[in-house]
C-alpha cells in the first residue's frame, strides 16, 4: 500500500507542479465563484439558486472529467522520457504502478470535487441571502430546492380499468356487438385469443383516457401511495397588530410512542407591559403571557403527558390566534407540507387559458383532516399545491379529489375539460432528507463516474502514446455522456425509409455503437445534477447500485485490463 501511495503522491505533485491541475483549478474556481455574478435565472432567488447549482456543478464535473484524462498523461510522459526505466527497476509490480496512478488521479479528483462542492454550497447561501420581492420565494427555495424530496407518482387504478374493460368486453360480446368479427367468437374456429387481448387493451386504454378526462361538473378520486413522510403538524403564525406590537407563534403536534404531543410557543415584543396578555386560539383559551418592562414575553405550553393541556384542542389549517390586550392576531399556516406537482393540461379551455379546479386532500374515513384548495392554474405550465402532511393517512396514502367546476363566475359555463394525462406528470413530493445529504449522494455518483473515466484514461495510455490515448479517452467520455441521446435517436430513426447505401452505413454505425455501448456506460444514468437542482431525493440505493455497477464491475474490469496490458508491455519500446 505504501508503494501505491508513493506513486499516487508523485502523480499529484506532478499534476500540480507541471501546472496541469493548476489550470483546471483556476477554471473551476471561475465557474464556482464567477457564475453567481453572471446569472440571474428567472429573477427570483429560487431561480437563481437553481440555475447556479445546475451550471456550476455541471461545469465542475466536466472540468474534472477533462482533468482526469489529462492527468493520465503522467504514464505517457514517463514512457516517452524514460523515467519508467528507473521506476521499472524498483520493486514495484506493473499492476501496482497502474493502480498507484489511478489512486493518485482519484485522490486529486476527490480533493478538488470536495473543494468545489464546498465553494458551491457557500455561494448558494450567498445567493439565497439576496433580497427578493417575490412572495414565498424564500419558502419555495427552502421547501423545493434546498431539500431532498421523494416523488410519489399518481397511483393509476390499472387493475380496475382492466376489470372494467373485461366486463365491457363481455357485455359487448354478449350483446352481439362483435358478431361480424369471428375472431372474437370463442366458439368459432377462427377465434384469435390475441385479438381478444388487443381488444381488452384497447378498451382499458379507453377507460383510462376517460378517467383522466375530467369534464365540467365532474370529479375524480386520486390516490398517492408510499408517502413515507413526517406527518407531524407544524404550524406557524405571524402575529401583527396596529399598535406596533409583533409576535410569532408556532404549534407542533408530533406522535411519540403513539401519543400525540402538542406544543404551542408564542413570543411577543412591544406589547403593553402593564397587563397580562391572554392567548386565544379559535376562541379557546390557550394561556397567558406576562410581558416584561420592554414588552417582550413568551408562552410555551406542552402536553407532554397528554393530560396537562388545558383543553383538547384540534386545529384546522385556518385556525387563528388572538391575543386579547395587545390586539395581536394572525392565522396559522402549515409549514410541514408536501407538494402535489402537476402540469395543467386541458383538452378545451377558456380564453383566459386558466384551468380552474377544486382539490380536496385527506380522507376523513382514515381520520385525517381535510384540506380544500381552489386553483386557477395557467395551462401548459407546472404548478405545485402545498398540502399539509397530516392529510396523509396512517397507511402512507394521500387521497385527493379533484373537481372541475361546472361554472366559472356567475352563470358562466365552464368550457374547460381538464386532462390528467401521463404527460401531466401528477406526483406528490415530500421531504425525506436534507440538501446536504442529497448533495453528498450527488458527490458519490459524480465520483463513481470520475473513477470509471480515470480507468479508461489509464487503459488508453497503457496501449497508445499520449495524443492517441487522449483521443480515445475523450471519445469514450463523450459517448458515455451522450449515450442516452444516441439510443433515443436509434429508436426514432426509420432506417427503412433511407436510401439503400445510406441505410447500410447507418446500420453499420448503429452496430458499432451498440457494441461499444456494451462496455461504455451511460453517464446520464448516474447523473444526479437535475434531481439535486430540483430538490428531489438522490436515493442511497441509486448511489450504491452505481458504485456496484460502475466501480466494482466496469472500473475494476478496465483497471485489470490496463494492468494486464501494461504488464505485457515492453516499456523500452515507445509505441505511437
Amino acid at each position: 500500500m505504501s508503494r501505491l501511495w508513493a506513486i499516487a503522491r508523485h502523480l499529484i505533485a506532478e499534476a500540480i507542479r507541471m501546472k496541469i491541475a493548476v489550470a483546471f483549478i483556476l477554471l473551476i474556481a471561475l465557474a464556482v465563484f464567477g457564475l453567481p455574478f453572471t446569472i440571474r435565472g428567472d429573477g427570483t432567488v429560487t431561480g437563481s439558486v437553481k440555475t447556479y447549482l445546475d451550471y456550476s456543478l455541471s461545469a465542475t464535473t466536466f472540468l474534472l472529467s477533462l482533468l482526469t484524462i489529462f492527468t493520465a498523461w503522467s504514464v505517457s510522459n514517463e514512457l516517452v522520457h524514460r523515467q519508467i526505466f528507473v521506476l521499472a527497476t524498483k520493486p514495484v509490480a506493473r499492476w501496482q504502478y497502474i493502480l498507484g496512478k489511478w489512486l493518485g488521479i482519484m485522490t486529486l479528483n476527490f480533493a478538488l470535487l470536495l473543494a468545489a462542492c464546498a465553494g458551491v454550497y457557500g455561494m448558494v447561501h450567498v445567493i439565497a441571502r439576496r433580497p427578493t420581492n417575490v412572495p414565498g420565494d424564500r419558502e419555495q427555495l427552502l421547501n423545493e430546492v434546498l431539500i431532498a424530496r421523494h416523488a410519489s407518482p399518481l397511483a393509476v387504478p390499472i387493475e380496475e380499468f382492466q376489470r372494467e374493460a373485461r366486463n365491457l368486453f363481455e357485455q359487448r360480446r354478449a350483446a352481439g356487438e362483435y358478431a361480424l368479427s369471428p375472431e372474437f367468437d370463442a366458439q368459432s374456429p377462427m377465434h384469435d385469443p390475441q385479438a381478444d387481448q388487443k381488444e381488452l387493451a384497447r378498451l382499458a386504454s379507453l377507460i383510462d383516457s376517460r378517467w383522466r378526462t375530467v369534464g365540467p361538473g365532474e370529479a375524480r378520486r386520486l390516490e398517492f401511495k408510499d408517502l413515507l413522510c413526517d406527518r407531524s403538524r407544524h404550524l406557524e403564525c405571524e402575529l401583527v397588530s396596529e399598535g406596533g406590537a409583533r409576535g410569532q407563534a408556532r404549534y407542533d403536534e408530533t406522535l411519540v410512542d403513539g401519543k400525540s404531543i402538542k406544543r404551542l410557543e408564542v413570543t411577543v415584543t412591544g406589547a403593553r407591559a402593564d397587563s397580562p396578555q391572554t392567548v386565544w386560539i379559535d376562541q379557546r383559551r390557550a394561556g397567558s403571557i406576562q410581558p416584561d418592562a420592554s414588552g417582550a414575553g413568551a408562552l410555551v405550553v406542552t402536553n407532554a403527558d397528554g393530560q396537562s393541556w388545558p383543553e383538547t384542542l384540534g386545529f384546522i389549517r385556518e385556525d387563528s390566534l388572538v391575543m386579547v390586550g395587545s390586539g395581536l392576531g394572525g392565522v396559522f399556516e402549515s409549514i410541514n407540507n408536501l407538494r402535489v406537482r402537476y402540469k395543467a393540461m386541458a383538452l378545451n379551455y377558456s380564453a383566459d387559458e386558466l384551468l380552474r379546479t377544486i382539490w380536496q386532500f385527506g380522507d376523513d374515513q382514515k381520520n385525517t383532516l381535510l384540506y380544500v384548495r381552489a386553483r386557477a392554474d395557467a395551462i401548459d405550465k407546472y404548478h405545485k399545491i402545498p398540502v399539509p402532511t397530516d392529510a396523509v393517512a396512517g397507511d402512507h396514502t394521500l387521497q385527493a379529489v379533484v373537481a372541475n367546476p361546472a361554472f366559472i363566475g356567475e352563470g358562466v359555463l365552464n368550457p374547460t375539460i381538464a386532462n390528467l394525462a401521463p404527460d401531466a406528470q401528477l406526483e406528490a413530493l415530500f421531504g425525506v432528507g436534507t440538501f446536504i445529504g442529497n448533495y453528498a449522494r450527488w458527490f458519490g455518483l459524480t465520483l463513481w463516474r470520475l473513477m470509471f473515466l480515470a480507468a479508461v484514461a489509464l487503459l488508453a495510455v497503457s496501449l497508445f502514446s499520449y495524443p492517441v490515448a487522449f483521443l480515445v479517452a475523450i471519445t469514450v467520455f463523450l459517448l458515455a455522456a451522450v449515450r442516452s441521446y444516441i439510443n433515443e435517436s436509434f429508436e426514432f430513426l426509420q432506417v427503412a425509409e433511407l436510401p439503400k447505401v445510406l441505410a447500410i452505413l447507418v446500420q453499420a454505425v448503429q452496430m458499432l455503437l451498440r457494441g461499444l455501448f456494451l462496455i461504455i456506460p451511460s453517464f446520464s444514468a448516474y447523473d444526479a445534477t437535475e434531481l439535486l437542482v430540483d430538490g428531489r431525493n438522490v436515493t442511497l440505493a441509486w448511489v450504491l447500485t452505481g458504485f456496484g455497477e460502475l466501480v466494482l464491475v466496469q472500473t475494476a474490469i478496465i483497471v485489470l485490463l490496463g494492468c494486464l496490458i501494461f504488464w505485457k508491455r515492453e516499456v523500452a519500446e515507445v509505441s505511437v
Binding site: 505504501s2 508503494r3 508513493a6 506513486i7 508523485h10 505533485a13 506532478e14 507542479r17 507541471m18 522520457h81 524514460r82 523515467q83 519508467i84 526505466f85 528507473v86 521506476l87 521499472a88 527497476t89 524498483k90 520493486p91 514495484v92 509490480a93 515492453e570 516499456v571 523500452a572 519500446e573
Partner: protein, 393 residues
Amino acid sequence: MTQQANIPVVQVAGLTKVFKDFWRRARVTAVKDLDFEIQPGEVFGLLGPNGSGKSTTIKMLLGLSYPTRGRIAVFGKPPTDVAVKSRIGFLPEESYLYRFLNARETLDYYGRLFQQHGRVRTERIDKLLDMVGLQREAKRRIGEYSKGMARRIGLAQALINDPEFLILDEPTSGLDPIGTRQIKDLIRMLGRMGKTILLSSHLLADVEDVCDRVSILYGGQQRAAGDIDALLAQSNRTQIITEGLSDETVSQVRDMLRRLEHKEVLSVSAPKDRLENLFMKIVADAQAANIGTSGARGAGQMADFLGTATPTGESLIKGLVAAARKPSDRDTSPAEPVAPRPAPSRAIIEQLVESNRDGEAPCAPERGAEEPVSASANRSLIESLMKSKRKDE
C-alpha cells in the same frame, strides 16, 4: 540479503533480441547468441561501440525489454521478478529524473518505493547527498541541474537501497574529471565491499581502470571476453621501470640486452604521468587553498550504509583479499587460458638496479594505480579532499 556464493548474479545464455516492425517483420538483430555470467563480487565491464547491443542487453537484464530467444537469470530468477529488483540498483545512460522534483524529493520517492521507513530513508538521503557532493543543492529542482549534477543524483538513487548488484550504464557520462575519478573510486570501493557491478561504457580508460572482467560486443555478438589483465597483457614485451638513468647507463643496458638476450631496446623515455592525476592534483591544491566554485563540491565520505550486507563464502574471501592487497589489485578469474609471459631474467634486473641508484622520482604507471607510488598519491588526494571538506563544514 546475502548472495548465495555459488549462484552467479547474472546468467545469460543464447540471448538474442530481434526488433520487429509493426507488421512483425524482423528488422534489426540487436543482440545475437550472447553468453556470459557475472559472478558475485566482481566488477564486470560490457564494452562495445555505439549500436553493439550493450544497452539492449542491459534493458533485457532489467526486464525493460524481452528477449526474442535465450535465457536470462538475475539472482537465479527472471528479470521481471519484482523481489529481485529490491537487490538491484540501476544508473541508466541518461539520468531520466523528474525535472519538477528536487534532489531530496527524488531520493525520497525512490526510497519510498523500497518501503524504507522515514528515519532510515532520511538518513540515507542525507548521506547519499553528502557522498555525491550535492547537499547544498538538494532543494533545487532537477530541471535546474547541470548534466553532471543530474548524473550524481542518478547514482545516488541507484544506491538508495544499498543494492547487491549495481548496473551502471555510462556512469561517467557528463562528468568532469573530478567526478569521473570519484565515480571510479566509488566503483572500486563498492567492488571491495563485495558488491557486484556491471559497467557498460565505451570509455575504455574508465573500464580498464575499474573492471575485473570484460566482455566486448560488436554487432550484437561477443567478440572477446575475459580477465582484463590477461586480455591486455602484451606477452612478448617486458617493461621495467627504474629511477632516472644516465645516457651512458642506458647505452650499457642496450649493449647488455643485445649481448645476453639478442634483443633490442625498443624505446627509452621518461614515462608520463596521467593527465587525470595532474588534473586531480591541481584541483586538490585549489581546494586546499579554499578557492570557491559554483559547481559540485568535493564529494563527502562514502555513505556508511552501503555494503552493510554481510558477504559470505567466496565473496567474503574476495573482499578480504581485495582489502589486504594494494588498492587496485584484483582477484581475477581469467575466462580463458593465456600464454604465460616470459619471466624477465633476474640477473638483468639486478644489474639494472645495481647500476642505477640516482634517486629519480618514479613515474605513475600507464594503467590503473598498480604501483605503491600511485596508491600513495591517490590516498593523499583523498585525504586532502577530506581535509578540505572538513574545513568547509
